[in-house]
Symmetry: C2
Subunit: 349 residues, 2 copies
């Protein structure tokens, strides 16, 4: 088992900054007394926010940062100023071993670039990937990666994403051999690009993987909960994720509009409010908050910019869970077990 988690919180990222980030940490600590925090950012604002959360007194330190990474900063700009930004200093605290993980609700591209440069990719991993848990019809969420870190991927990247996603799933779901599939535009062997077919061949042939690899799945199956880990390149993953988010919003907006369309429907809505609340709760992004950069020498979790304190607490708990359950060692062990994988692009059939 890993260490007791001490987590750096970039207190300045996200739509609301320090107030929400500190409140989220406080909520997480209510549930987990062992959590320790290093809040990074404007000291005055952090102190102000901490006043409302006496349960954090014994568990917090502050690391003052003069600057912040703006929401529209390019990754290259963010890298140049990273020594004095709250995001850069939070990730650096992971690098120098002062904390075991960092959580930020700031600019995703900047966080990726800073984390990659500071922490470097793990041995055996060519590129890190962004992974998240998405809601399904079943009780357990599905792990999906890459969600946008790499717009273009080769077969080898996809195989490594599968190994990382399976390790993440084992920790979050507790399954010994999670069911892993590659996202494709059909389930027949000949479907899709040579890149995907090459990855599938390598995963079928590999021995000793701590996963149950079962070929291809399609994007309309993401939410059914039949698969534990869905692997894809960052372009398709980002498209799928945003299509899911957009459609969930679209359908719930339509529903709201329909309910408001007549007095009868309004009354029905009031009576059935517990049902629509249940729906809202199931889809609430705050209940699935915390996307993880996998494949780096350190744990970095991205909280959604608009997450509320419940969402931030969730992101903090994901970070702590990955530290406690030693995600990095698990990925390393898996990579070592399978040895150098023969991965080649297959010719598209």
């Amino acid at each position: 088992m890993g260490m007791r988690p001490r987590i750096a919180i970039d207190a300045m990222g996200g739509d609301e900054g320090a107030r929400i980030m500190v409140a989220g940490a406080a909520l997480a600590r209510h549930r987990h007394e062992g959590f320790q925090f290093l809040f990074v950012g404007d000291e005055t604002r952090i102190r102000e926010a901490l006043k409302n959360h006496p349960n954090l007194n014994a568990a917090s330190e502050i690391l003052h940062a003069d600057d912040i990474v703006s929401a529209d900063a390019k990754p290259s700009q963010a890298l140049r100023s990273s020594k004095k930004t709250s995001m850069g200093m939070a990730v650096n605290a992971v690098k120098i071993g002062e904390v075991s993980a960092a959580v930020s609700a700031g600019n995703t591209g900047a966080l990726m670039a800073i984390s990659k440069l500071a922490l470097r990719t793990m041995p055996g991993i060519d590129r890190p990937a962004l992974a998240a848990l998405l809601p399904t019809m079943k009780d357990s969420d599905v792990v999906m990666l890459d969600l946008g870190a790499n717009a273009e991927c080769d077969s080898r990247n996809l195989v490594q994403f599968a190994v990382m996603g399976a390790a993440y799933s084992r920790i979050m779901h507790g399954f010994e051999k999670p069911l892993v599939k590659l996202l494709n535009i059909g389930t027949e062997d000949a479907k899709g690009t040579g890149t995907i077919q090459g990855a599938a061949q390598a995963l079928y042939q590999a021995d000793g993987l701590a996963m149950n690899f079962q070929g291809f799945t399609e994007a309309d199956k993401i939410s059914t909960g039949d698969v534990d880990v869905i692997v894809t390149d960052g372009f398709s993953g980002n498209i799928a994720l945003k299509a899911l988010e957009g459609t969930a919003r679209f359908v719930t907006d339509l529903l709201r509009r329909s309910f408001l369309s007549s007095l009868r429907s309004k009354i029905g809505f009031l009576i059935s409010r517990p049902a629509t609340e249940m729906l809202r709760n199931h889809l609430d992004p705050n209940n699935h908050n915390g996307a993880v950069f996998l494949g780096l020498n350190g744990v970095v979790v991205k909280s959604h910019g608009s997450a509320d304190e419940k969402g931030v607490a969730n992101a903090v708990e994901v970070a702590a869970r990955l530290v406690e359950d030693s995600i990095l060692e698990r990925i390393s062990q898996d990579l070592a077990k399978i040895g150098p994988l023969e991965v080649a692009e297959a010719a598209a059939k």
Copy 2:
């Protein structure tokens, strides 16, 4: 204006075959008296189905076909047997000018392969694309292409898809210069692959296009209705389309489950049923049925395999509309207007 539409109907495709295809044609003819049909397939079954629709008597001919394309046939198999299958003979009727369009609810890959070989791509088009109308929050649907005909595309393909999608939108929406965007993983200029950036540069630079090209959009904006035409490669398009379908089903299933969770919610549901019916109607795939293969020398429309008679009627009407409004000439004129486009892959930034 084009000709009076005479449409070949592959009577054997789809989950239910002749009964639904004939019923759909009958429904379309109730609304458009000029429609004429050539039903292709098993003569006995078609005659049987026609008995229920006397309004088709004066408007129908039958072309007997011995064979059908099975739902799981590979495109190569379907091509080999196309001379005697209902699908192959329906498309051939377009080729020889006996009808002005074909509608099939059969195997999509097979229909694409057969149509491509029989009708060939239009001058100036390298590859045909599959386009469809998707529901949005606004009154008008959005045209999206390619939805899966081409798993890999270059910049030139995307530019041609934009021209074809705009022509389709002008006919279906009636806008003179539809708003066209490329699907990407961000809206900043530097986002995405070199392929997408190359297409964007060519579309920005082109003069005289009958569209208003405005760069990039993301998958969570597909359903907002702010864009008239969304252009993407067949892999991403298929992922986005299936993610939309899957999520719409997921959310409505969750809603149903929530409504059934207590007596109070059940009562609320009964009272607000007009609202949920309104939602169901807005999302009903039958109201948006009819995907079109654009870029061929002929009009071929794919009806959803599980479409009901309303859905088939919609697909028939889409086919008729494209014929009456001369989609092929419109695409040709646009291509001629812009001349040979300079399209190069851009290096990803």
